[in-house]
Symmetry: C2
């Protein structure tokens, strides 16, 4: 187990959760579920139950370094890898892999987003352990595939085949977010899984794949090979990261590599990507209401998500299918079915203090 590591990706802005999620304090640092813990804290604790805190790392934007350390005081500063610019997941994975190679050439790790929800943690942990074990033995890239429960058009899909190795299925292809008809076909077919963006691989395997499939990116970051895990690492990153191409690990590696395997996992996963998906996850009762206030007088309110300061009294009558978000400086009252407009609306604001 001493070769097992975790890399938590925590650099996103979560702009679909505006106005709760802000550039200065994005979604991963919020208690978005109502559990009393931030999402990054929940993610950390999930892994910390079987991987030592000293082996858990976070990659984030420099803007969020202090917040990461506040939410995860178990981490040493050196365990927070700081990106000077947002370059999508590809460079982040390559960067962490080079750091890990410098720490432990036999290192194997889970890469997981900081801001997802997993209901069945035991099943999840069992599957992750299996994956770490498999990835430590063979040159494979593993992805956790989520058994779909509905024809969701908001997720990418993994198409897998029968070929089997250590209980893992060979991935045939990755599919973009489908339309509803296609999503229904995927669901009926049974050989498609949701792509959760949770990966397991060894530093060695993934770096080899970068070298082959994304040689330019590999080359640029490998110029600092002798600097990783030394006092010169940050300076090298700060100088060279900006020149690197912004690309997702999906495009850079997964769509090209042919050593990818998946483990169909029924773990009650949600990426909590939007207010509506949070509502679907947490709404309660006959009227399907999700509200975080302890004092509320609701009458003829249905299918709404209501988020206010915790000790605020909420009195609402006659509202259906709405999102109500009351932040200190912003009040949003929006039809839930039109929440996809929120991101653009946020980006169009003149006063940047509200973003």
């Amino acid at each position: 187990m001493e070769n097992n590591y975790v890399c938590i990706m925590a650099g996103g802005i979560g702009s679909r959760f505006w106005p709760a999620s802000r550039e200065q304090k994005p979604k991963q640092f919020l208690d978005i579920i109502g559990s009393g813990k931030s999402l990054i804290r929940m993610t950390f604790e999930r892994f910390a139950s079987y991987i030592p805190a000293s082996n858990i790392f976070v990659v984030t934007n420099k803007m969020y370094k202090q917040q990461v350390l506040e939410h995860l005081p178990e981490l040493d500063e050196s365990q927070v890898l700081v990106e000077p610019a947002r370059k999508n997941t590809g460079p982040a994975v390559a960067y962490f892999s080079m750091r890990l190679q410098a720490i432990n050439p036999n290192g194997v790790y889970v890469m997981a987003p900081a801001d997802h929800f997993i209901e069945k943690e035991e099943v999840f942990n069992t599957n992750i352990k299996k994956a770490l074990d498999f990835a430590s033995k063979e040159n494979v890239l593993l992805t956790l595939g989520i058994t779909p429960t509905r024809p969701d058009t908001g997720y990418g899909y993994i198409h897998y085949g029968d070929a089997n190795n250590n209980g893992f299925n060979k991935v045939q292809s990755f599919r973009e977010k489908p339309d509803l008809e296609t999503a229904q076909k995927y669901l009926d077919d049974g050989s498609y899984l949701w792509n959760a963006g949770i990966f397991v691989w060894s530093a060695k395997s993934i770096l080899y794949s970068f070298e082959v499939n994304a040689p330019e990116l590999y080359k640029k970051l490998n110029e600092g090979a002798d600097k990783y895990n030394t006092s010169e690492e940050q300076e090298f990153i700060d100088k060279n990261y900006n020149e690197i191409e912004s690309i997702s690990v999906d495009y850079a590696i997964l769509e090209k590599a042919n050593n990818i395997f998946t483990l169909p996992s029924d773990i009650g996963w949600s990426d909590i990507g939007t207010w509506a998906s949070l509502h679907a996850l947490t709404a309660e009762g006959e009227n399907k209401i999700q509200i975080n206030s302890e004092d509320a007088v609701l009458d003829e309110v249905e299918n709404c998500l209501i988020r206010v300061p915790k000790d605020k009294l909420v009195v609402i009558k006659g509202l259906e299918d709405f999102i109500v978000i009351d932040e200190e400086d912003v009040l949003l009252i929006y039809p839930k079915s039109q929440e996809q407009e929120i991101k653009a609306l946020r980006n169009g604001l003149n006063k940047k203090e509200f973003t």
Copy 2:
């Protein structure tokens, strides 16, 4: 003019304006219009343009004495008459009249609520001056009658006759809030006015009327005759006020006296009694929106009243005929047509800190 005085009534709770209006800071102390001034300040300034501040008094509940002095720093503490209990307008009028009699036996005064709106201030002031002049010369009780502009069922009405004295019409009777059909008849008839609760009379005339028409109330307060305008006044009031019957000046005096005259006045008056009446007064533009925030993104929002902290960004889509009130500790989103429920809703709250 040295005999002219003003008595501003400022003891109410304004519970129909909950959650903006609170027991600790009721409507009269709020900038409810969006003028930058509280209603009591606007009322004071209206009179102070032609009556010296030293002749302007306020009757209020002891809870609000400090707030009155903060909003009207021109007043000496002695100009704020403090009621230890809420007893409706009858005792307040009798109390102030006895104080005034002790100050100036020839005193004549306007009694006006602190929380009304008057659009045409010049017409109002001209009429008040006429009334003060008339009331200083004869034993009459004068009330400003508002020329109705619609068949309003929320106001009481004054029925006046032809008999005329100094340009004032004799009042035949006061009528309770009518149903719509009756209100329409009143409007068509032309001899009915809205009763605005703005009165003009001399201390002498109104006290005589109390002695005749409300002898018990008169007797109890007159026991302190030698204490008014002395250091013993407050102690006397604190001791005796609780025993006094709670009664409006309308019931105690106006419905009984036969020396009441009115001046039909077209002054753009509103008692701003409810959120909807405020909205009717202040809503702007094609979509009839009243909003106090400088930053707002409204889409498909019509006929709404929106009140939030001034520097708060408001983003609302798809809301029609709603009241949205965002106070620091309470958020209200309510159908405007059902606003009459708000008072009861407020009164039913368990946590008194929200009232």
